[in-house]
Symmetry: C2
DNA sequence: AAAGTTTTTTAGCTTTGTCTAAAAATATTT
DNA sequence: AAATATTTTTAGACAAAGCTAAAAAACTTT
């Protein structure tokens, strides 16, 4: 895989995100997204076309080629892994991580990213709940997340409980956790994998590893 | 503190390193260090002079101003913290960290760096034994390092032992550790802060927290 | 101190990525 | 379908950071 400039990467990423909603992306849409001028977009589109990263005929809009998509997934992988790192390890809040990851994502060193992935324990979703592509660019369709995998300080909604025994339900009732409850994990303890959970503005309380492993959540959007 | 381009930062950093040996840095020295041409150096020196980062009169060589030095220390802080992170957390080897840190150092987000510093436990030296400037740009003159602070897989030489009791000496003798012994820490265990140490090519062996805290080393250069 | 050598600077050109203003193509209205 | 409006592209300029080749300054030699 070749290397692309920061500017090229930002265009590729923006097209990737925009073409999800629409099928084909227009010059103005992209200029608006990147806070640049339409003329600059056209210039860059010509360049990316030559590099075979997108399909583009003048006046016809554009979409990423297969190669372009691969590049985009690489950028998104880097972005989301750094977001996870910032939230989980450096204790950045939810809303601060995106901006910092915008810069870190442009450091393109495969070994760095793969080792970071490993260090983080191969997370599948970033702190916003968006899935993280793996080293081969494969991306998982969003699915339920076990509480142990939920990043810190990330609002989530309880979606299911795997064990349906009366014992676990008794415990859940006591902790006032039900399907639909909105919560955040405030702290995780490596020692016994217990965690502190907070519901709304109430004081945080502890959940054991066993209980956490049976609670599944979705991100609160 | 203003923001500087990657290119400007590379020049500033190179001058900082070169002016330690010499007092004043020459155009050719810098061109050689940065693998660029003398004419490019002159151009950049004019620019950095206007920004008051260096003292420079045509044909006279240059050195960083007080402001330039502050900027340089910021860059070096970022570089060395990332090196420490790569070696200690991502398990990069000794000799791989520099190249990757060359890219990461240009992400200039104060909060990111200060939180990274905290996450790493405010290390004082990078994996090469070079001191890491603190958040205020203060740099420690190299001093002895306790074994617990020694980064993993980093060759070091035992320089002193704080406790001189016969008990510790007996233990050291048994482990074949003496002043001047070259060793590397291969693993650290968070649970009891014990560590695995290797001397040369012999099999690694365990050292307790108590023992490690009394062994001081210097980097093997 | 004059001549020659080396170093440094200047002048002018290139590439990347941006911009503005004008022209061309496409869409929308009447 | 003609007129009008919008979008997109082209043309030409600019700043950053690099280059080559030539000029200027500073140093070595003899």
């Amino acid at each position: 895989m070749l290397n692309y400039s920061t500017s090229e990467e930002n265009y590729i990423k923006a097209i990737f995100h925009l073409q999800k909603q629409d099928d084909t992306v227009t010059t103005n849409e992209l200029a608006n997204e990147l806070k640049t001028k339409p003329a600059s977009v056209t210039d860059m589109m010509k360049k990316l076309k030559i590099k075979k990263l997108l399909h583009y005929q003048p006046y016809q809009g554009f979409r990423l080629s297969t190669d372009g998509n691969k590049v985009a997934l690489g950028i998104i992988r880097r972005h989301r892994l750094w977001e996870y790192f910032l939230a989980e390890k450096l204790k950045f809040t939810w809303d601060e991580v995106h901006e910092v990851a915008e810069d870190l994502e442009h450091v393109t060193n495969k070994k760095l990213i793969d080792k970071l992935d490993e260090f983080l324990g191969f997370p599948r979703v970033d702190p916003h709940g968006d899935p993280i592509p793996d080293a081969n660019g494969r991306i998982e369709i969003s699915k339920k997340i076990g509480l142990p995998e939920l990043p810190l300080n990330t609002p989530a909604v309880v979606s299911s409980v795997s064990d349906q025994s009366s014992e676990i339900l008794e415990l859940l009732q006591h902790k006032k956790i039900a399907i639909g409850t909105r919560l955040e994990v405030k702290k995780k303890f490596d020692f016994d994998h217990s965690m502190e959970v907070r519901i709304g503005r109430q004081p945080a309380f502890t959940i054991s590893r066993e209980l956490a492993e049976n609670i599944f959540v979705k991100y609160d959007t």
